[in-house]
């Protein structure tokens, strides 16, 4: 039995108990997913303050909508979808996100260095939001194309074309690190 399957079974069990009013079960679910959701939100929004707000809104929305979760998709996919929607709404509500000024990467920098990290983050934040979504879901969450399509509610072919465009743009911006 794979670890993912075991996690999913435990998630569904906790979600079922939480939907029946078991507050402890919902807190356990939060502890299992909070870090992952927070990293995802930071990756989508670019800062931890906004990310914390979006995680909070996501979990409140999930709590209120638990009865609607019928385990047709995995709990992870379901809650990730809520977060991605909340992040998109948040971005629209708030002022347009200020782009981090891009620095020019140099060949001597290594990807593990802090400057390289900043460059990668800047390159990600400069992607159009729909391209950033697919890259983050793929590279951070390691989701399959099918799962990404479920989370974003778009055809799988669109996932592939967005991923292709996003990677082409990233390769152009980060070519110094990829040589």
């Amino acid at each position: 039995m794979s670890r993912n399957y075991t996690n999913e079974v435990q998630d569904v069990e906790l979600a079922t108990r939480a939907a029946r009013g078991d507050a402890r079960a919902f807190h356990d679910l939060v502890d299992r997913h909070a870090d992952r959701l927070f990293r995802l939100a930071v990756s989508l929004l670019g800062n931890s303050t906004d990310a914390e707000d979006v995680v909070q809104e996501t979990l409140i929305g999930a709590f209120r909508g638990l009865k609607g979760f019928e385990a047709r998709s995995s709990f992870k996919t379901w809650i990730t979808r809520i977060l991605v929607l909340q992040a998109a709404q948040f971005r629209r509500r708030k002022r347009p996100m200020q782009s981090i000024p891009e620095s020019q990467p140099t060949a001597k920098d290594q990807p593990a260095g802090s400057e390289a990290k900043l460059d990668v983050q800047a390159a990600l934040l400069n992607l159009p939001p729909e391209h950033r979504q697919v890259i983050v879901l793929r590279e951070l969450e390691q989701m399959t194309y099918e799962e990404i399509a479920q989370v974003l509610d778009i055809p799988q072919g669109t996932v592939e074309s967005r991923l292709h465009r996003a990677r082409t743009a990233l390769r152009e911006k980060l070519k110094a690190y990829l040589a």
Partner: protein, 151 residues
């Protein structure tokens, strides 16, 4: 490279999204196409670097986690309070409905039986002489404090 028919499969191959026959086909092609092999290496380097940077981000701090749980508790309490208010409102409606029904029921009660009219004349002799029901006599006797006349 731009003309290579496998170019479009490289990304899906790198992401592990090809089925077994397609994967085997791409692997055979990679052994004889240095351009595709170089392209694949670039794709993998990009994924590795981007994935490493994204995964290295810190998780939720303890303070933020505590804030989050506290907020969720307040949302859950709000839910319980709302449910309690809803139930109280229903109970109040039921109570009000019952009260109205009782009051109206009393007002709309059927006309009193004839012995009540008889009894209201406060004369037990009439009631007795008319052979009215014993209940009328009992009512009149108790109303006029004459227990000795109780049937």
């Amino acid at each position: 490279m731009a003309d290579c028919e496998f170019q479009n499969s490289l990304m899906a191959y790198s992401d592990g999204q090809l089925d077994e026959p397609s994967r085997a086909q791409v692997e055979r092609h990679l052994q004889e196409c240095p351009a595709c092999a170089a392209e694949l290496a670039q794709l993998r380097a990009l994924s590795r670097n981007v994935g490493a940077v994204l995964a290295a981000q810190p998780g939720l701090s303890q303070i933020a986690r505590h804030r989050l749980h506290a907020k969720l508790d307040s949302v859950m309490d709000d839910g319980i309070l709302r449910a309690a208010r809803f139930i109280s409102a229903i109970a109040a409606c039921v109570l009000a409905g019952c009260s109205i029904w009782l009051v109206r029921g009393h007002q709309l009660s059927p006309a009193p039986p004839p012995w009540v009219d008889v009894a209201s004349q406060s004369d037990t002799s009439i009631a007795s002489s008319d052979n009215t029901s014993p209940a009328a006599v009992w009512y009149l006797a108790s109303a006029t404090n004459r227990p000795d006349e109780l049937p």
